[in-house]
């Protein structure tokens, strides 16, 4: 009966938000944040990034569903003359904007390699080239379209590996996308279908990780260090297979180095510095108020119950 818990006599910390506590906490947090911000901004500034939007240049108005039909265009660009491009590993991304891979009604979300229905024939749509034809997508519906069709290649002196490897999550490659899939002969014999059969292809796996926002980058290749030459000119050969103009999207090609915070991230550093400054400012305001007209703790003049 007579225990500290039952009698509500547990030893406890009973803190109060006193001026000393609050002002020094705000000050400490503010200073720490400004410090962190400097670190982030420094790292972010070290990151080299090159974006090439090419959808205007390589405009196309149709979709192609087989390997051979596409329009090709070449994009020339000069790598800025910063040593970083040579000394570090360079990540190659393709970026789409206004593309809602996370739309609930898009087929990406519910996909499960073990679920034959999801892999199957849920997505039936009109062949854009022939309205009378309906296409069934396999193994995973429409998802493969953009993925398969987006094939930017850097050709000049070919610094970029042709085979995708090491770009997808290890867990996806090792466990998730090795599932035996239904034999192509088991496909329903109705209409024609487009078969993306190589489920374990890393480009496909990367595509399958749903992007959370309508503007997103996906890793395409990693170029090892010392392959690129700063200041050199490269050609990007693009096999152009789908339009983005219809829905107001863009296509961009991005080359980037990395740092400990990942890719270039200007927001984070600025956010930290702003928050840090606000915290210090609050600390100063509270301090000034406390010095000019202190509200002394426990002041009985405020004991008015009216």
């Amino acid at each position: 009966m007579d225990t500290a818990f039952k009698q509500q006599r547990l030893r406890a910390w009973q803190p109060i938000l006193t001026p000393k506590w609050v002002i020094s906490s705000f000050f400490a947090v503010g200073v720490a944040f400004i410090g962190i911000a400097i670190g982030i901004l420094g790292a972010s500034n070290q990151v080299q990034e090159l974006s090439l939007q090419y959808d205007a240049k390589c405009e196309n108005h149709f979709m192609s569903w087989n390997a051979s039909s596409y329009s090709e265009c070449i994009l020339n660009f000069t790598l800025p003359s910063n040593d970083k491009w040579a000394t570090s590993e360079v990540y190659v991304y393709y970026e789409l904007s206004n593309f809602y891979q996370n739309h609930r009604q898009a087929p990406f979300l519910q996909l499960n390699p073990f679920d034959s229905d999801a892999f199957g024939f849920a997505d039936k749509f009109q062949d854009p080239q022939d309205a009378s034809k309906e296409l069934y997508m396999y193994p995973c519906g429409l998802v493969n379209g953009p993925c398969h069709l987006l094939q930017p290649l850097i050709t000049s002196r070919r610094p970029c590996p042709t085979n995708p490897s090491g770009i997808a999550w290890k867990s996806d490659v090792d466990k998730k996308y090795i599932a035996p899939i239904k034999d192509a002969s088991g496909l329903p014999n109705q209409g024609s279908f487009f078969c993306w059969h190589n489920v374990s292809d890393e480009d496909f796996i990367v595509w399958m990780r749903v992007a959370a926002l309508p503007r997103f980058k996906k890793l395409y290749r990693k170029i090892p260090a010392n392959k690129l030459k700063p200041g050199a000119t490269y050609s990007l050969i693009i096999q152009n297979r789908f339009p983005v103009k219809d829905f107001g999207g863009t296509k961009t090609f991005v080359l980037s180095t990395t740092s400990w915070i990942g890719g270039k991230n200007n927001f984070l550093g600025i956010a930290y510095i702003v928050v840090g400054i606000i915290c210090v400012a609050l600390a100063i305001i509270f301090l000034v108020k406390h010095l000019i007209s202190p509200r002394i703790l426990g002041d009985p003049r405020y004991l008015n119950w009216k």
């Binding site: 009966m1 009698q7 809602y100 009604q105 073990f114 039936k124 996806d172 926002l213 002041d299």
Partner: protein
Amino acid sequence: MENAHCKSYSNAPSDNTTQKSTSNKVVTSKYTFYSFLPRNLYEQFSRLANVYFLLISCLQLFTSLSPTSKWSTGGPFILILVLNMIREIWEDSKRHKADEEVNNRLVEVIRENGSTESIPWKSVTLGDIVWVKCNHEFPADVVLLSSTGDQGMCYIDTCNLDGETNLKIRNSLAFTASLNDPLKISQLKGYFEYEAPNNRLYTFNGRYVRPAAEDVPVDNENILLRGATLRNTQSIFGQVVYTGAQSKIMMNSQKGRVKISNIEHTVNRLLLGILLFELIVVSAATIGMASWVSSNREAWYLPYVKTQTTANNFEGWITFLLLMNNYVPISLYISMELAKTVQGQQMNWDIEMYHEETDTPALTRTTNLNEELGQIQYIFSDKTGTLTQNVMEFRKCFINTTSYGFGTTEIGIAAAARGTNIQVDQDPTATEAERDKDPNKAQFHRDPKIAFDDIRLLQRHREGGSEGEFINDFMRVLSVCHTVVPEGDLTDPSKILYQAESPDEGALSGFAKALGWFFCGRTSTHTTVDVHGKKEQFEILNVNKFNSARKRMSVVCRTPEGKIMLYCKGADNVMLERIAPNQSQRAPMESALTHYANEGLRTLVLGKKEIPESAWVEWNKVHHAASTALVDRDGALERAAEDIEKEMIIVGATAIEDKLQVGVPDAIATLAQGGIKIWVLTGDKQETAENIGFACRLLRDDMEINYINGSSDDEIKRQLDHILQRNDSYVGKETEHLALIVDGKSLLVLMEESELSQKLLTVAKMCKAVIACRVSPNQKREIVTLVRRGVQPEPMTLSIGDGANDVPMIMEAHVGVGISGNEGLQAVRSADYAIAQFRYLKRLMLIHGRNNYRRVAEVVLYSFYKNMTLVTSLFLYNIYNGWSGTAIYASIILICFNVAYTFLPIIFYGFLERDVNDTTALKNPQLYIPGQRREGFNATVMLTWMLNAIVHCIFVFFLPTAAFAATGMVDLGVYGTTVMHSLVIAVNFRLFLEENYISWISHLVIFVSVALFYFVVGVASNMPLSLTLFDVNLFYGVGKMTFEEVLFYMATLLTIVVANSIDVASLYIARNFFPTPTHIIQERERGYGRNFYNTGDDSGMENEERSVILANAGSPR
């Protein structure tokens, strides 16, 4: 006789089977094995919120419209239903065990052939003749046929039934009293005819119909109720008349109305409000979807968008409803219930509310009202047994023209100090020698418990003469006119124990014994009194019983001298109406009575009357007819008694002291400081009530006491108007210096007219203290009703009492508190909380009530807050997913929000939180005021929390989003997990900021909750891919990638610092710029601000004491 009657045939089982009766198997448990599931589910689904979640679960399970896992509502919902079931099973299993034991107890029954058979209680049927042995309980309600006791009498104790511990006498039917063995009793032929089953414990109307003889009346004197125990009697035979559920104890245990707390009512309304809000948000999202679709028809990769129709919009609406169904907090009720269950235990455990002498801890009978205890504005208190100890001590008596007994009471001393004309040492006529004050000389059989030390009484009796005659009459009435049962050694006055129905009776007969009128035996017809060694026998002819309406009892007896005498005792007002005119003692007695009342003594007047033999024979016929009446027997008996209790001769008056309970004045003064109005409702006279009021510091000298005691409309109106005129500047305000005393007689008139009762309320609201005297139980209830209905807004009321007469007001008030004391268990049975002493009320309200109110309010507010934050982020994410309803969080991560990462801390908060220490709360009763003003839970507070939720959600959602968007590398799994991470830490830290009492447990539960988040992420992302429950497979591998992502940490740190800095800053600004008195007292308790008033003279004072002074200084006068 009407049709509503029952029959019970003796020794004729076949006849009895034609009677409607129930099995004697008693079931007090709520559930059986088969009824558990349907009944529990029915109860759970009578809560609207649960129906809502059932609907949502079904929609999710049976349609493909849910954006999250099919089980994302169903899973947690089932978990919460099961938790509730476990709680119920735990509670019910105790009742099952008790039932099992009772139903299988054995009892012997007599068969028609005179043989006996031992059968379990549950097999006992109507008409069975049972043979019950000493110290055994009766298996059903039975009529006593015969017993081994003297003349068929037996003793019972009804402690389990009504809590009264005194022995009571029951009598056999006269014609069966000799049938005292199985064979004889099995010869009995005939049947009982009696009223239908009812819950009246103290009445029974029936008769025994004999084949060839007159009917015999059967009444409560012959009844042995289930629940009572046979005492001091070897065995009895009795015939069963009510079985099982029809027995009186079961009829009584039907539940009263279930009181629902104010907060819970508000919560139910809030739930509807939040549901409405949810529907608006859902509809807004649907509109968002429709407009997004219409402007994105060209998104060729979304086949759905091309074909989207209006009908799809409805589906979209359902999708959004399923996505955002958690605006209604699923864990709210279970959190509240679990927290309140522990709160109830804490009150039971509280060692400071444990009364050691009677071994009584506080008892929480319902946990529904825990928080109401912290909001009480009006206390309605009974006096006897609640403010006083209900231990009666005989102090004084008035005989002929003299008042015997010296000294005065504490109340008398207090009254004398105020300058009233009380002489502390009464009766200046006593000579110096007579004031010897030796109790050994003053008493014949010295009783150490009686302090009576006036030696004149016995002296004058010995001297004889007319004064001696008067004294003898007086003591005779005391020793004969009662219903006390003697127990123990009947020859030794020091070893005898008087079992009295009321403490007053015990005190009176105890006094008579001490003075040498030793009541030493009672049979069904005779009472024996040993008068200074000489036995006197009184034949008891009739007894007119006491009840609260008659306020008197009388006995008609044949004295040893052979005269028929009526001895009567009763309340002074009823007695004075019934005495013969022109008696010289009347005037001095009345002045003595006033004097006694001023000393706070309880007074009774004794009377006698000689009845001529012939008159008695006449009257006895009337009385007999009344006592055998089957319809309105009580009324008939009352009228018969009324006929004879008149024109009596004054014998004297008694004055008994009922001492105040320990700590009452302090408790009342403290509660009054806490802004609580205390109304004392008592049956006492105005003077007694007033003096008690002073003694318990309800009234103070600096108060202006107003009286309303008129008996006509006009008079009362005049009195009220007079008070209003004199104090018109205080109308609508409460003032410290006004008090009101209302008389029960005036209340009768007041309650009739709404205009007058409104005026009374206006006056009463101005007054700090109100005393209603001479009120009946029903008037007590009416007063509570008047305040509840009349005062706007409706104030929170609490009634506290100990006796059956307090039950109506206990039931009527928001919170009923019973004192588990001497007057039985009736008040406790109908109360919500029971405490052993009035002074514990202080702790119950100022500490437990206050804490519980703050806690429960916070549980509700925080539950809404955290879900608001969670679900709004689900809504906001639609900005980035084309208003399609995609969930930002993986299902498994979302599901665990309410049942894992934020489940425990708020429940623990719900019974651990305390903003100030107990001593501070007791010493600064004003801390109770915010609860009365509902400052912890009202529309403003609710909106503030909702605003807080929205602000938090905006930062929690947009900051990580912007951080991820800046890099463009945004995997949905990693991103959602990061946002959830920020959310979990931010809302847990928010609760941490609300905590004022952070023990290791509080640290632990918050730590565990956040750790559970990492645990769930880690486990869920490593489950086998074949597991599709809660869509865990879609989360495969996300954990590792999330924990490796620098942004996961950097975005969370940024978010929680921003979100919680806003909280810290606003809490600090509130405390620093707009401090409430609670803030100040909290600070002073923690040792700040000591240098104020450090002027030397109070430097030796304890910190807390000083804060009392300060708090008083600041309180309004």
